[in-house]
Point group: C2
Chain length 593, copies 2
């Protein structure tokens, strides 16, 4: 049940697969000292193993309680949160002008994986605070920043994102919470929100809610949504806490997993209206929300990676301890072997590890792109990196959370009957993972975003640029003439060809036959993830081979396994997209007949 951050794999993924080293060397990270990376991750890993991991099961078993309008978290959680902020972990990537360490998103991404692996229900709280920081920093007034931003960066206060209402889930534009202008320039909010993560808790004195609401004269749909900052306690001029604001948790959900993370129904307006402060401009809330969402989507992808790695570590440990049967060729009267000797168990563990590694690098590459988009001095470099980050975000979110669920599933399977028993913890990973393909935009919505926005932008420019790079990696694999790669080059070559053809096919239809394009969105995203992930693992293997990192055999084998078992699915996925639209769109004959 312990967790050890896989620092070596993470550094290889960051520096070589995701391109952090090259970007630093190209000067896109300014004076960032890349040698810091390992030290930060080592420390983060230590904090996670020592403080967060031991509370993971405690949180699952105790859950949270709502009583008298207050949420109480599990035993040990407020103290762990205190140590979290004291250690400066909340401030890793926060803006330096407000007390943050200003470290790259890429470093924070690796940290997010570590928090999620050790205790995903805990890590979710700062993840949302981070989104809030991003939105406030980008769109808030100087006055609001002065009062709230420093406290959010340090973690003294936490943030929430309040979008969802019963009739407005994926369709945010359908929300009804009302905000009325008050004479003093503030607003009064009335309405109810559901599924609000850490909507209330006992870990901090104050909570800063970021609430989407609609002005009385707002246009219908997404064009009439505004974003408001609504503190749990109002803040006096001297920074001390004032009156309790009219926003209360009125219910908590009974969930499949993430038991330690309170999921609240929030009610505003039972006592005259919650006081809110506008962020950005009126009716521009969707723009601000997307700032929050993009950060959060990458964060959720990293939750998938983290849970996957935790499940893998646990399954690997179990497979080395649990003895059943004997290796092929051993006599029946020799003692039984650990189950890791069985080829089917080896396959399962390799699948878990290679999927996790691929998802990890996709997430890190997304973070590097977002970093370069924010930090590079050259405008063209920035804009291309922004397009890359936008393209990779839905893949990072959806592919990685699918992987988190697949790997947690396999982790239960390796445990056999013990996997179904809650005591082992394998089942908790499986339950906790299940929300990740749903929240921050379901994976179906990520796939639709990939096809209709990210692929379609600029005639697919961001896609073609990425595929060109992948082609270079494949050439290097083939050029290495290393027999240890086996058929890796050929398999990735085939995958890239499938991805290229499928991208073209979709691009031709996204406007002219949108339902045909939409019908293939989900297999297209998987095809994209499998191809990009396979090429990233290959580039890590090449780096390991080149002597700069070591352990070439290990990383070549991992890349090859992925190519032979995951990337190899590309041609089938291509066919599902390009041949499947008619039956998908004709489904009513089956479903409703």
């Amino acid at each position: 049940m312990t967790y050890q951050a896989p620092i070596k794999d993470m550094l290889l993924a960051l520096n070589h697969g995701a391109g952090l080293k090259a970007a630093v060397e190209a000067g896109h990270y300014g004076d960032f000292d890349a040698d810091l990376t390992a030290a930060v991750l080592e420390e983060a890993g230590k904090f996670a193993s020592d403080v967060l991991a031991p509370l993971n099961r405690v949180g699952d078993q105790n859950g949270i309680k709502l009583q008298d309008g207050k949420v109480t978290t599990a035993p040990g959680w407020p103290d762990a949160y205190k140590r979290w902020t004291e250690g400066g972990w909340n401030a890793v990537s926060g803006p330096e002008s407000f007390g943050g360490q200003g470290l790259p998103l890429a470093i924070n991404a690796a940290c997010t994986e570590i928090w999620s692996a050790s205790n995903v229900a805990f890590g979710l709280c700062p993840l949302l605070t981070l989104s809030a920081i991003e939105a406030l920093d980008a769109h808030g007034s100087d006055e609001l920043k002065k009062i709230y931003l420093g406290k959010l960066v340090s973690g003294e206060w936490t943030g929430t994102m309040q979008l969802t209402e019963p009739q407005a889930g994926s369709d945010v534009g359908a929300l009804r919470t009302r905000a009325e202008r008050a004479p003093d320039g503030t607003y009064r909010l009335k309405g109810a929100k559901i599924f609000i993560t850490y909507g209330d808790h006992d870990m901090t004195d104050n909570i800063v809610h970021f609430v989407l609401a609609r002005l009385p004269d707002a246009p219908a749909g997404t064009k009439g949504i505004s974003l408001f900052l609504v503190p749990k306690f109002l803040v006096n001029a001297d920074g001390s806490l004032g009156a309790r604001n009219d926003i209360y948790p009125s219910g908590v959900e009974h969930k499949l997993g993430m038991h330690a993370s309170p999921t609240c129904t929030m009610t505003m307006g039972d006592h005259g209206g919650a006081i809110g402060y506008l962020i950005g401009e009126e009716n521009q809330g969707m723009r601000c929300m997307f700032t929050m969402m993009n950060q959060a989507r990458l964060g959720v992808g990293l939750e998938g990676v983290g849970i996957a790695d935790r499940a893998y570590q646990q399954a690997l440990g179990y497979a080395q301890e649990r003895r059943q049967g004997r290796a092929v060729g051993k006599s029946a009267d020799s003692g039984s072997d650990p189950i890791i000797v069985h080829p089917d168990i080896k396959r399962t563990l390799m699948q878990m590890r290679s999927l996790t590694a691929a998802a990890r690098t996709i997430c890190y590459a997304t973070a590097v792109a977002l970093d370069v988009a924010a930090r590079a001095t050259d405008a063209k470099v920035r804009s291309e990196a922004a397009a890359r980050g936008a393209l990779l975000t839905p893949i990072a979110k959806a592919f990685s959370t699918d992987v988190g669920n697949e790997v947690a599933y396999l982790g239960v399977q390796v445990h056999g009957g013990m996997g179904f028993i809650e005591e082992t913890g394998a089942a908790q990973h499986y339950r906790d993972a299940r929300i990740t393909p749903i929240y921050e935009g379901t994976n179906g919505i990520q796939a639709i975003d990939l096809v209709t926005r990210k692929l379609a932008a600029n005639g697919g420019a961001a896609v073609w640029a990425l595929l060109d790079e992948l082609g270079e990696t494949i050439k290097q694999v083939e050029g290495s003439n290393d027999p240890a790669f086996g058929g890796t080059g050929q398999k990735l070559h085939d995958a890239l060809a499938s991805l290229t053809r499928t991208s073209r096919w979709l691009l031709e239809r996204v406007t002219s036959a949108p339902n045909d394009a939409l019908a293939g969105a989900t297999p297209y995203l998987r095809l994209f993830g499998a191809t990009v992930g396979g090429c990233y693992l290959a580039s890590e293997a090449l780096a390991a081979r080149s002597g700069s990192f070591g352990e070439p055999q290990r990383y070549v084998a991992l890349a090859r396994f992925f190519a032979e078992n995951i990337a190899v699915q590309a041609p089938s996925l291509e066919k599902s997209v390009t041949d499947g639209a008619e039956m998908v769109n004709g489904a009513d004959a089956v479903l409703l007949g």
Copy 2:
């Protein structure tokens, strides 16, 4: 949350996909009146909807209790069980000489699907009784049969299967429970068993345990195992209940799902030893156990089908009610549409339905083969059918339970955030399904059984015979020249070619390079399921087209979707098997490096 047995789909699958009609017409079912089928299923569906389905959530929420050595089931369960036996449902396929109705296994298979769909935790109890009946009928003495068989057939008493011990899970041969010969010809059992389903409960007066144990002078491993009948209460000569036997539930597991089904640790021998009666001969317990296991494996496959269908029905209902967003082309100010208008949701539902339908027919076809093996008059027909049943059993178990989990996963996804909330019930299906790929032999073990025993038997004779039949179906699809089939024929043709090549590849290695064969077992089983399932759905579509059944459009579309999205994975799976062995068997460099 209601469940409606899909009688029409089930009849098509039974009669046409699984070949019941042809087998009846060929005389293999003796005087069985095939018209009975629909009537039995209608009644079973009614009982399931009225009595069992409403208790599914009650059972999940209340679970079971162990107190003072006695297990209490959830409210309403004992009464439901009483109605179950009164309705004669326990006796559907039991031997007529002991009060059973002697209906074909195929009919019982359809019923098992219905029980599992409506309430899988309930259905598990009679499923195990059925295995016990099978073992006792095949291997028990006349005296034991006289006392116990009738009560088990009627369901007045239930049965358990007691194999597992902490050190002996998949490796049954490692069990240590001891049985000592008593002077009166009975035995005294001492030891502990774990994971015993319905090891104790309050639904019947007595429970008949079937316990594997080892005699003091028994050889090591599986050759030294004997099977014993150990009643909870001894039975007097007049059939009345006598003394409490020394077998007690000493603990119950806290599980991920199946909360209503008690999973007990059973302790024997705290009061001198449990009295047991030998079934079959000493040291022949494995043979008797396989009799129980085969029946149970098909039953577990049907649990996968049942849970899948329940999850599908619930997701379909939700998708028709839940409104979010609008269909492509509708103006933003028109009201929102049910989410079933979105192509990605249509794809998800089609995937759920087509996977469920394919798994259903594979299970039914297994049952038909086992029926013919038991009932046909011609010895060659019987022996070929037995080989077919043996071949299909691991596929029925593993493919169908994988499908059960995939479909339950997708069912949660269709519900969005509501899927993660326990109140909707989608999460319960997901949790309950998770045990099915584990118990009665993990799916990895099924895959190994498929490769090393079922494929390898008689040079692959059973496989070649089945593949020939599938080839005939494909020819008919291609010969139909029906454009509605689209690329179905070609995709199935490619899948069959992959399956044929892969079977040959494995057959060449199963003895000479067993680790290479074992490394590909799991993808091979999936390849097998995807190909067979695709062809079965195509044969159902052909039957529907031929006018004997109706609704051709619906079933052709379903078969085509499966071919285009599931069977199409065959060439990728082939490559995983034939190219992947080196990396699987070289995995230690990655996993342990």
